[in-house]
C-alpha cells in the first residue's frame, strides 16, 4: 500500500525513511520538554513541541534527522522547537554523519512566541551554514501539508540538496498573508491552482529552487534522500557565484512575470497545461533541457 508523504505525521515520515531498528530520538516525548510559553496563553502543548530529532541510518549510512509536525501549530518554530533543531545541527559538526536530513513542514515562526521563534530561525540558518563551511551536508525535504514558509523557507534553501514533491509548497510569505496585506487582486489565496503554480514543487523545480522532484510517497522520498546522500556538497565562492548568476538571470528575464505560466513559457515549454498535468517522472524527463539550475 502506498503511504502518502503529504499526510503522514512527522513520526511516520521518520519511520518511513530510516532503516528499521536504527532510530534513536533525542529528548523523546516522554521527557515532556514542552513550550513554557504556550500555557501562559492557555494554549495546548505537544510533548515534542512539534519536532522530532534523532539519529538513525538511511541505506546503511549514519544520518541525523529532524521532522517538523505540520499539524501542531502549523509546524511553526518556537523556542524549544528551534533549540532542538539547533542542537541537532551542532551535534552534526561533532559527530559528522553522512548528512543532516531536515523533513520540513512549517509555516515559519510561531506567533505565540514570535521573538524566540524568529531568533531561533536565524540561529538555525547560522548553524547550518557554519556546519556547511565545516563540511557537514544538509538535505532538505519538502512535501508536507504546511509546506515550508517564512523563515523556514530560507532554512530550506540553506541546504546542500533540496527535495520536494509537487504537493509541497515553498515560499517566504504565505498567500494568505499577501492577500491580507495587499488584497485579493494581488493574490487570491483561495485559488488553489494559483497557490500551487506560485509555490508548488513543479514550479520550484523548473526555476532551479529545488534539486529533485519526488512523488508523494514515503518510499519514493526515502529513495530520493538516499540518492541525495551521494550528491556532492560544496560551499564555495564559485558555487555562490553560479547561484548568483542563476538568480540574476531569473530576475532579469522574469521580473515582469505575473504567473508561473509566463515563466514556464519563457523557459521554452511549449504546452504549459500539459506539462502541469504530467506525472513526476514524465515531468522530470520533459524538463531536463529547459529547467534552470545553478
Amino acid at each position: 500500500m502506498r503511504k502518502g508523504y503529504y499526510e503522514a505525521s512527522a513520526r511516520d515520515r521518520i519511520r518511513g525513511v530510516i532503516d528499521p531498528g536504527s532510530w534513536r530520538e533525542f529528548i523523546p516525548p516522554s521527557e515532556r520538554i514542552t513550550s513554557p510559553h504556550l500555557p501562559l496563553l492557555d494554549q495546548p502543548v505537544a510533548f515534542d513541541d512539534g519536532i522530532v530529532v534523532g539519529a538513525g541510518r538511511l541505506g546503511g549510512k549514519d544520518v541525523l534527522i529532524a521532522a517538523q509536525e505540520g499539524r501542531f501549530l502549523g509546524g511553526a518554530v518556537g523556542e524549544v522547537h528551534g533549540a532542538k533543531l539547533v542542537g541537532l545541527i551542532e551535534r552534526a559538526v561533532k559527530t559528522r554523519p553522512s548528512a543532516v536530513v531536515l523533513l520540513l513542514d512549517s509555516g515559519g515562526v510561531r506567533l505565540h512566541e514570535a521573538n524566540a521563534g524568529l531568533i531561533a530561525v536565524s540561529e538555525i540558518m547560522r548553524a547550518i551554514l557554519r556546519a556547511r563551511v565545516q563540511g557537514v551536508k544538509f538535505v532538505g525535504v519538502i512535501g508536507g501539508s504546511c509546506g515550508c514558509f517564512g523563515g523556514m523557507g530560507l532554512v530550506a534553501r540553506c541546504c546542500d540538496v533540496l527535495l520536494m514533491s509537487e504537493e509541497g509548497r515553498l515560499g517566504m510569505s504565505g498567500p494568505e498573508v499577501i492577500e491580507t496585506v495587499r488584497g485579493v487582486e494581488e493574490f487570491d489565496s483561495r485559488d488553489r491552482a494559483l497557490v500551487w503554480r506560485v509555490t508548488g514543487g513543479k514550479h520550484r523545480y523548473l526555476i532551479g529552487e529545488v534539486d529533485m522532484l519526488v512523488d508523494d510517497d514515503v518510499a519514493q522520498f526515502r529513495a530520493a534522500i538516499a540518492r541525495a546522500l551521494e550528491a556532492p556538497a560544496e560551499f564555495s565562492l564559485e558555487g555562490l557565484e553560479r547561484e548568483h548568476d542563476m538568480l540574476a538571470r531569473r530576475w532579469s528575464r522574469f521580473a515582469d512575470a505575473n504567473d508561473a505560466r509566463d515563466i514556464w513559457a519563457g523557459l521554452g515549454i511549449p504546452d504549459v497545461t500539459r506539462m502541469a498535468l504530467m506525472s513526476t517522472e514524465e515531468f522530470t524527463r520533459a524538463s531536463e533541457n529547459v529547467r534552470e539550475r545553478p
Binding site: M1, G4, E7, R192, A193, W196, G200, L277
Partner: protein, 555 residues
C-alpha cells in the same frame, strides 16, 4: 386544484387549449419561430404568465434555469403575481427574491439546500405558504395529478432551429417536467447555452417546446457530488470498514444507492483496497443507482462496478463517463443520459440497499436533516431510504433482510436494507442521537402537518456508528430497539443512558456488533486505506479523463 362548476352540457372541454392559445397569441410578436432573444425574455414572461399560475422554474439538484429565474425577477409584480412554484429545488437567491417581491405566494418543493435558512425566515414572516415538502419522485408524481405546471421554464445545453433540445449529461428533471407541462396545455420555455444546426442527440422533441431563449451565459451547474478525498477522516474510514464487512459482505449487497456525504465516499474509496482484500470484487456493489461520484472511479477502474444509472451528472466527469459506456447509460453522442425520475424509481424498486448520513436520529430510529432555523427538505433520500412496499421480485439480499425482519410472521417477504451511517457526535460536539428530533419544532413554526422526517424508523434496518452496527431487524420489542440504538450512540447523552446489561445481551445476540466482533481492527483505519487520498489521485485513477473543477485543483 381547479374546481370547475360548469354545466357540462354547454361545456366545450377546451378551456386549457384556449388559455394556451391566448397566451401564445400575446407573446407572438416577441418570437421568431420559437426563438426569443434574451433581452425580450422578461416581456415574454409577462405575456405568458397569469396570476395564480403553477410555475416550474427548472431547479434541479445541479442544473438551474438561472437566466429565466433572473428574468422572472425583473417582471412587473402588478402583472406577474400570486404564482405557485412547483419545482424540486429552491437553490437560487432569485427564487427567494420572487417570494420577497410577493410574486410567489405558494411553493411545493423537495429541497432548498443553500436557501434553507432564508426560506425558514420567509415562512416565519408569513411571506410564503409551503404546500408540502416532497421527495423528488413524489413531486414528479403530483405533476401528473394535481400540481401540473401551467408554465415551465427549463434549461438545456443546446437547441436546434426547430426547437429540439439537447440537455447533455445533465438531463435530470427535464423530461418529467416537460412531459407533464406539454401534454396538459402548459407552456414550455427553454433557456439554452447555444443554438446549433444539428444536435448531438435529441433529449426533448421540439414538438413539446414552445419557446427557446439563447441565454447570455451558460446555465449554472453546481458540482454537488464532488467529495475531496483529502477531507475524509479516520473515523469515516473506520465506519466504512464496518459497513463493508458488517453489512455489504454480510448480506451480499450488489444493487445499491449511496448518499452523497463523506461517509459514503469513504466506502467507495475503500472498495478497491479493503473490499478487495476481503475478496469482495464481483460479490458486492456491482449495480448502482447513483450520480457519477468522482470517488467511484477507483472502484470502477478496479472492476467492482458493472452498471451505474444516474439522477444527474457531475461537473468534470463528462470525458470519463463517455469513455466508460459499458458502465454508464450514454446516448449516441457518447455523453451521459441522466434522468432523475427513472433513477429515483430504480433506487426505490431495484436496489437492495440504501445508505446515507443524517443530522439527527431519535430512539425510534427516525432521522431528520431539519435543524432549527433551516428548512432544507430531503430530495430523494426518502425514496431510496424506504422499503419498497410494491416490490415483488426477490434477491438474496432482500430475502435475507426479510427473514431477519419477519421471524415471527408466516408470509415470506423480503425487505430493503436501509442504513444510516453517522458519527455519534457532529462538529462542535453536537450529538447525532437525540431523544427528540428538532423536526418536531417545524410542525408549529412552519405550520406543517407532520414533522419533516427524512427516513422513518420503521424503514430503517441498520445504524452504523464508530461504535459498531445496530441491526434493528433483529429487535423484538420497542424497548430492545431503543437499547440497540443507545448501544451504538457512544458517549452522547442518549448513549450514556443505556442499560449496560441489556446492551451486552443485545451484543451476544448479534443485534449490536462492535468493530472487534466483526474483525475490524481500529488500527487499520488510516487514510492510507483510501484508494485515492486527493482529487489528484482521482484524476490519476481516471487515466487523466476526469477534469475536476478549479476549486478542487492544485495544479
Amino acid at each position: 386544484m381547479d374546481a370547475p362548476t360548469v354545466n357540462t352540457s354547454t361545456r366545450d372541454w377546451h378551456d386549457g387549449v384556449r388559455s394556451k392559445a391566448a397566451r401564445l397569441e400575446r407573446a407572438a410578436a416577441l418570437a421568431v419561430g420559437k426563438r426569443v432573444e434574451a433581452p425580450q425574455t422578461t416581456a415574454l414572461l409577462e405575456c405568458i404568465l397569469e396570476p395564480g399560475d403553477r410555475v416550474c422554474i427548472e431547479g434541479n439538484n445541479q442544473k438551474q434555469a438561472d437566466f429565466l429565474a433572473a428574468s422572472l425577477v425583473h417582471t412587473d409584480p402588478a402583472r406577474v403575481h400570486d404564482l405557485h412554484l412547483v419545482q424540486s429545488v429552491l437553490a437560487l437567491p432569485e427564487h427567494m427574491e420572487l417570494i420577497e417581491r410577493g410574486q410567489v405566494s405558494r411553493i411545493d418543493f423537495s429541497f432548498s439546500g443553500p436557501q434553507a435558512g432564508r426560506l425558514a425566515r420567509l415562512v416565519e414572516r408569513g411571506k410564503i405558504r409551503i404546500g408540502a415538502i416532497h421527495t423528488y419522485l413524489e413531486l414528479f408524481a403530483r405533476y401528473f395529478i394535481d400540481l401540473t405546471p401551467n408554465v415551465s421554464l427549463i434549461a438545456a445545453q443546446a437547441a436546434d432551429t426547430a426547437g429540439n433540445l439537447y440537455t447533455g449529461p445533465n438531463t435530470e428533471d427535464t423530461p418529467a417536467i416537460v412531459e407533464a407541462t406539454a401534454f396538459k396545455n402548459g407552456i414550455v420555455i427553454a433557456q439554452v447555452n447555444e443554438v446549433l444546426d444539428t444536435l448531438p442527440r435529441v433529449d426533448i422533441p421540439a414538438d413539446w417546446v414552445d419557446f427557446v431563449v439563447p441565454a447570455p451565459r451558460p446555465h449554472y451547474i453546481e458540482p454537488l457530488f464532488t467529495r475531496d478525498p483529502a477531507q475524509i477522516t479516520e473515523i469515516q474510514i473506520l465506519m466504512a470498514m464496518i459497513a463493508i464487512k458488517g453489512v455489504y459482505a454480510e448480506y451480499g449487497v450488489t444493487r445499491l444507492n449511496h448518499g452523497i456525504g463523506f461517509d459514503t465516499a469513504a466506502i467507495e474509496l475503500l472498495l478497491p483496497t479493503y473490499g478487495e482484500s476481503l475478496g469482495l470484487r464481483g460479490k458486492i456493489c456491482t449495480h448502482w443507482a447513483v450520480n457519477p461520484h468522482p470517488t467511484l472511479m477507483p472502484a470502477i477502474e478496479a472492476g467492482f462496478v458493472q452498471s451505474i444509472h444516474c439522477f444527474g451528472s457531475e461537473v468534470g466527469m463528462e470525458r470519463y463517463i463517455a469513455a466508460r459506456p459499458d458502465v454508464f447509460f450514454t446516448g449516441r453522442d457518447g455523453s451521459l443520459r441522466s434522468n432523475r425520475a427513472f433513477c429515483q424509481a430504480a433506487g426505490h424498486y431495484a436496489c437492495d440497499l440504501f445508505i446515507g448520513s443524517t443530522l439527527q436520529i431519535d430512539l425510534e430510529g427516525n432521522s431528520s436533516t431539519a435543524t432549527r432555523g433551516r428548512i432544507a427538505g430531503f430530495g430523494g433520500a426518502p425514496n431510496m431510504g424506504s422499503d419498497a412496499r410494491g416490490r415483488r421480485h426477490a434477491s438474496e439480499t432482500w430475502l435475507r433482510a426479510g427473514r431477519e425482519a419477519r421471524r415471527h410472521k408466516a408470509m415470506p417477504r423480503g425487505q430493503k436494507l436501509v442504513v444510516q451511517i453517522v458519527e455519534t457526535f457532529r462538529e462542535h460536539m453536537t450529538p447525532t442521537f437525540v431523544e427528540r428530533l428538532d423536526a418536531w419544532d417545524f410542525v408549529q413554526s412552519a405550520n406543517m402537518d407532520v414533522p419533516p422526517v427524512m427516513i422513518y424508523g420503521e424503514d430503517l434496518t441498520h445504524i452504523i456508528t464508530e461504535e459498531g452496527i445496530a441491526n434493528l431487524l433483529l429487535c423484538d420489542t420497542p424497548e430492545e430497539r431503543k437499547q440497540a440504538i443507545r448501544g451504538i450512540a457512544g458517549y452522547t447523552p442518549v448513549g450514556l443512558a443505556r442499560d449496560v446489561r441489556m446492551v451486552e445481551n443485545l451484543r451476544d445476540r448479534g443485534v449490536i456488533r462492535r468493530p472487534e466482533d466483526i474483525g475490524v481492527a481500529r488500527r487499520e483505519a488510516t487514510r492510507d486505506l483510501l484508494a485515492a487520498r486527493s482529487v489528484k489521485d482521482l484524476v490519476l485513477a481516471s487515466g487523466g479523463l476526469y477534469e475536476p473543477p478549479t476549486r478542487f485543483r492544485n495544479w
